[in-house]
């Protein structure tokens, strides 16, 4: 029965159909929405609808002490929180002129790479689910949990570790940690073969992902695509190598690239990056016992810590792309202005809107997951 206030709406005849894709939708990553216009089952127009997760981070950070912001920043990108802390700390250290002890630098690299593996495991689990394969998701998330256990042992927090602070890291590693880390890495490296059979070379996935959401190299540079998505277009650029921070210039690692720039290439780049990250952590495990010294440069009373006036810019390579912080201080006990350059804001809005056009409707979710965009970081 129709409600009393029902009135039929007359629309001009059209073969276009408007579909709200999200926010309450299993094919969307997080709390995010797309408004797509369909003709048959081909997308003719897509508009991103962000803002569901907006909390006003940049404003909140102006209202808290330098040291309090450390607990706020990891919330910006939930699946990959460590680069947020490290990047903010690097910016504040540059501003305050704090010298970072060598051991703290190695420990930060250890965390960054662990976080990268965890984020990639989580990412391809989600990507597999959009193509209808749930086993890689169940396995990937369960294996990521082993890494979260290591984080918990090292820092006390499973997801948000809040382990880095301006001047270094909070404490040294627990006894026997490196052995357990090494065992877990062996296990995950052994699992990669299973993942290859199950997911990366599985024809169900390969046939669906090839040729979906192609980005050419020129387009990628024009749309400011960064990180694994850029490397999937064949351009070898990585902040870790080209603008080294911490001790990345002392480490040996390759930068995997792929040609094609489609969803398949983007997935493969991440698969190869996991191997590189494991090798980086192995180098850290080997070198760490010989590096002695403190893990933290003490800072003055954090409740009344005044950072000298000036501005600084720090950038790191997160698992999603290039992440940067621009911090301005006017000599007070709180930041005057913080600007965050997140990779997902570009990937999920301007790139996704263009890539979705011409896709079939069932491939929209796959395109979004292959870009590995992180909605809380888009909205901030």
């Amino acid at each position: 029965m129709r409600p009393e206030n029902y009135q039929a709406v007359n629309h001009p005849p059209s073969n276009e159909y408007e579909l709200n894709f999200g926010p309450n939708h299993p094919g969307i990553e997080g709390n995010y929405a797309l408004k797509v216009k369909l003709q048959g089952d081909t997308v003719v127009e897509a508009r991103a609808d962000a803002g569901y997760l907006h909390r006003g981070f940049e404003k909140l950070m102006e209202d808290r002490l330098w040291i309090q912001n450390i607990s706020l920043v990891p919330r910006i990108c939930v699946p990959d929180p460590v680069p947020m802390e490290v990047c903010y700390s690097l910016a504040v250290e540059e501003l305050a002129g704090l010298e970072l002890p060598e051991r703290a630098q190695w420990l930060r690299v250890l965390q960054l790479e662990l976080s990268r593996i965890a984020a990639h495991l989580f990412y391809f689990g989600g990507h597999a689910a959009t193509t209808g394969m749930y086993t890689p998701m169940y396995w990937g998330v369960a294996d990521r949990d082993l890494l979260l256990d290591l984080f918990e042992e090292l820092t006390g927090g499973r997801v948000y570790s809040i382990y880095n602070m301006p001047g270094g890291v909070r404490q040294d590693i627990p006894r026997g940690f490196l052995q357990r880390l090494s065992d877990t890495l062996d296990y995950i490296e052994g699992r990669l073969k299973d993942y290859d059979n199950l997911f990366f070379t599985n024809q169900i996935f390969v046939k669906r992902a090839k040729g979906i959401g192609i980005i050419s190299q020129e387009q990628a540079l024009e749309w400011s695509v960064t990180g694994p998505n850029l490397r999937a277009c064949g351009l070898e650029f990585d902040v870790r190598r080209d603008d080294p921070y911490l001790i990345y210039d002392q480490l040996k690692f390759d930068i995997p690239t792929e040609h094609g720039g489609d969803a398949w290439a983007r997935t493969l780049v991440r698969r190869l990056e996991m191997v590189e990250s494991i090798s980086i952590i192995r180098q850290v495990i080997k070198a760490l016992p010989d590096i002695k010294g403190p893990v933290r440069t003490p800072i003055p009373n954090p409740l009344a810590w005044r950072v000298p006036a000036g501005d600084s810019y720090a950038r790191v390579e997160s698992s999603k792309g290039e992440l940067a912080y621009y911090v301005v201080s006017n000599g007070g006990d709180k930041p005057y202005r913080v600007h965050i350059r997140g990779p997902s804001a570009m990937h999920a809005v301007q790139v996704l809107e263009k890539l979705a056009v011409g896709c079939r409707v069932e491939d929209v979710a796959q395109t979004m997951f292959s870009l590995d965009a992180c909605p809380p970081e888009v909205d901030r």
Binding site: N24, H25, G51
Partner: protein, 233 residues
């Protein structure tokens, strides 16, 4: 906020009279048991707490052994998990989703942000107390709660459902004026959802003295026909 605090008010529930027919009692108990053992959880990640749900659902902690599975449509779901902070824009969708779900429905507030705003207590963009806009059955505190805590919370909800105690959804009908007033305070006086809550309250015979009031009068005065394809949210 517009009205008094509702958090201490009990649901005005008539005690379920034991029927003389013993089979009816057994049947009611059986229904409650089955209801607690087959719950569909709405697949809606509203905030950062959603990152601990995949571990809770998948191989390691395995929520499915408790009979809980994700469900994609609100009309077939039983549990609405609010995982973390709700921004104003999300809250509109949350209320819309909640009203679409069929009774009995249960709301769980995960993370500290649903209790009192948590980390974002001074943010201009988030709603601080979820309880002011929709009734909540259970809170799981923590930033963020571990998968074990989530599963423990769900087990407590199951125990409550088994004994017919989880009936905060009745509170929404009985005190609709209060919830509507808070929603109007946030979204403006022309706030309107497609669901006819007052009509539903009459159908379910849950209309109480607080269902209608000054705020429902405002709603009646601004109510206009819905434009099905173009909902202005």
């Amino acid at each position: 906020m517009s009205n008094t605090d509702l958090s201490n008010i009990e649901v005005n529930q008539k005690p379920v009279a034991k029927r003389s027919n013993p089979f009816a009692n057994v049947f009611n108990e059986l229904v409650s048991f089955c209801r607690s053992r087959s719950m569909f959880m709405l697949h809606y990640c509203t905030g950062c707490g959603a990152i601990e749900l995949p571990p809770a659902m998948t191989s390691r902690f395995d929520m499915e052994r408790l009979g809980i599975q994700p469900m994609v449509t609100p009309r077939q779901a039983d549990i609405l998990l609010i995982t973390g902070y709700v921004s104003i824009k999300t809250l509109k969708r949350v209320i819309l989703t909640y009203e679409q779900m069929g009774a009995p429905k249960y709301v769980i507030g995960i993370c500290s942000c649903t209790v009192n705003g948590g980390m974002y207590w001074q943010s201009y963009a988030t709603a601080k107390k979820l309880d002011e806009y929709i009734p909540v059955d259970l809170y799981i505190a923590g930033c963020m709660p571990r998968p074990e805590a989530v599963i423990e919370g769900l087990q407590q909800l199951m125990a409550k459902i088994k004994t017919d105690e989880a009936n905060s959804w009745k509170k929404y009908y009985e005190h609709y004026d209060y919830y509507l007033g808070n929603q109007q305070h946030l979204f403006g006086n022309n706030w309107q959802t497609p669901t006819d809550i007052i009509g539903e309250a009459k159908t379910y015979q849950l209309e109480g003295p607080n269902t209608l009031g000054e705020h429902t009068k405002i709603l009646e005065s601004v109510q206009r026909p819905l434009e099905p394809l173009e909902m202005k949210l």
